[in-house]
């Protein structure tokens, strides 16, 4: 604390003005101000900064986009229920993912771990999780430009190595959509390839591939988390294309990918 013989520091005087000093120091500075014009002047100077801060910032509360914020909060999934069984739920995982997306942090730096799932969940559950996750993407999330072919090749090489595939940039190109990134996430302790695209007309789109032994199935369509999905599966992989484009377009795009790739 301040040397009694010298002028108190601005820190002490500020704490004095804010009523944050111990009682004895409050008294001591008040006494000093009585005796010393310098101290009184400095206190008077610093107290000019006693502005109506609370009033000034009150309108900023009104400026908050409350409807949007409430919708955001409502969109954060519940973290309970099934979580009890595994300690860490997939929802928690995808919730954590959401945070990294919003932060613009490379998702592939995040540790993405899914909890155990019952076998019966391995059908539509992964698509529900992907949909929930993709619903958090906005066009801003995918702002920027398509990476060069070399970069795409490198990204796809990682995907291919984890999923036993041989995808090329041409295989996964979507007509009229801008490729953004291919990366490996993990879902249910299995690698999950996520290839993102920006559809200039409707926003985020993604092609996701995971390992599956659910049998070969032709393309089906569904709607989850307000997005349209076309999904199919090969002997060892399940694939889904998800986006905000209309179901017909999603289906046609999915068909074109299905015709090009062997899974």
């Amino acid at each position: 604390m301040t040397d009694r013989s010298s002028l108190p520091s601005d820190e002490d005087l500020t704490a004095f003005l804010d009523g944050e000093l111990p009682a004895e120091d409050m008294t001591r500075i008040a006494d000093l101000a009585e005796k010393s014009q310098d101290v009184a002047d400095r206190i008077a100077f610093l107290s000019r900064a006693d502005l109506p801060f609370a009033d000034a910032f009150a309108p900023l509360l009104e400026a908050a986009p409350i409807d949007r914020l409430e919708a955001m909060l409502d969109a954060v999934p519940e973290v309970r229920g099934k979580a009890a069984a595994t300690g860490y739920s997939r929802r928690q995982v995808f919730t954590a993912l959401a945070a990294s997306i919003v932060a613009g942090i490379a998702i592939d730096r995040s540790i993405i771990v899914a909890g155990r799932m019952g076998a019966k969940e391995q059908g539509g559950e992964w698509r529900a999780a992907v949909a929930q996750y993709m619903a958090l993407y906005t066009s801003d999330t995918l702002a920027g430009t398509s990476p060069s072919r070399d970069v795409q090749l490198a990204q796809l090489a990682t995907v291919n190595s984890h999923l036993g595939l041989a995808l090329t940039p041409e295989d996964v190109a979507l007509s009229g959509k801008e490729f953004r990134r291919a990366q490996i996430l993990a879902y249910d302790k299995q690698p999950l390839a996520q290839l993102t695209y920006l559809d200039p007309a409707t926003g985020p789109m993604a092609l996701c591939i995971t390992l599956s032994d659910g049998g070969v199935r032709d393309i089906s369509d569904e709607r989850r988390s307000a997005m349209n999905i076309a999904f199919w599966s090969g002997p060892q992989h399940a694939i889904m294309l998800i986006g905000h484009a209309d179901p017909t377009e999603i289906h046609v795009l999915a068909q074109s990918v299905k015709d090009r790739i062997t899974v």
Partner: protein, 199 residues
């Protein structure tokens, strides 16, 4: 209640395809309490959305960043709901989370993007002629606070707008109380000098 406390960890795939070990905390205890704290945190978030957004805006000086910060705060707070200590101030806890997300995740990106100052007049969107004077006075104070360096701005906002004690400010900013004092003193000197010059 989970009967098995079998520790387990999972692999996670890094960007280079490396396999990393991730330790998963055991959550086998107090499930009901966790559920209670989740609903407490969720309702606390709902009540404080505007305040969180305001602090996000004060830190970032950008609407979209404030939106992002609130969203991430919601996600993080619900994730960590079981870390909230019942009986302590939930609003402070939420502001602490928001600040930490700003510091660790969002700020560097915003700084890289070179975000500029947003004049308060652009944010205050009130209608009505009679509010003009108050609005301008408010905008003046906001602009002056906005012009402070970030560290001082955050301390001033938390202490003088949110009305926190020095100790609470120190906790939210994760700095010693002495640092809070020096930031506030520097801010006061700057604001006082501006006031002096303007009169």
């Amino acid at each position: 209640m989970v009967t098995s406390s079998q520790p387990w960890s999972d692999y996670a795939l890094g960007s280079e395809g490396t396999v990393r070990r991730a330790t998963v905390p055991r959550q086998a205890i107090a499930r009901e309490a966790n559920i209670a704290s989740h609903s407490t945190v969720r309702s606390g978030l709902r009540e404080n959305l505007q305040r969180l957004w305001r602090y996000g805006f004060v830190l970032s000086r950008a609407r979209d960043a404030a939106d992002d910060l609130v969203q991430q705060t919601c996600v993080r707070a619900l994730e960590r709901a079981d870390q909230f200590v019942e009986g302590t101030r939930l609003d402070r806890w939420l502001l602490t989370i928001l600040h930490s997300i700003w510091l660790n995740e969002v700020r560097s990106r915003r700084v890289r993007l070179g975000q500029g100052l947003v004049p308060a007049e652009d944010i205050l969107v009130h209608d009505g002629q009679h509010e003009m004077e108050m609005r301008l006075a408010a905008a003046d104070v906001m602009n002056r606070v906005n012009a402070l360096p970030e560290a001082q701005r955050a301390a001033v906002f938390l202490a003088y707008v949110e009305g926190m004690s020095y100790r609470e400010v120190a906790e939210v900013l994760d700095i010693p109380i002495g640092t809070v004092m020096s930031r506030l003193a520097a801010a006061r000197a700057k604001l006082a000098a501006d006031t002096d010059g303007g009169e």
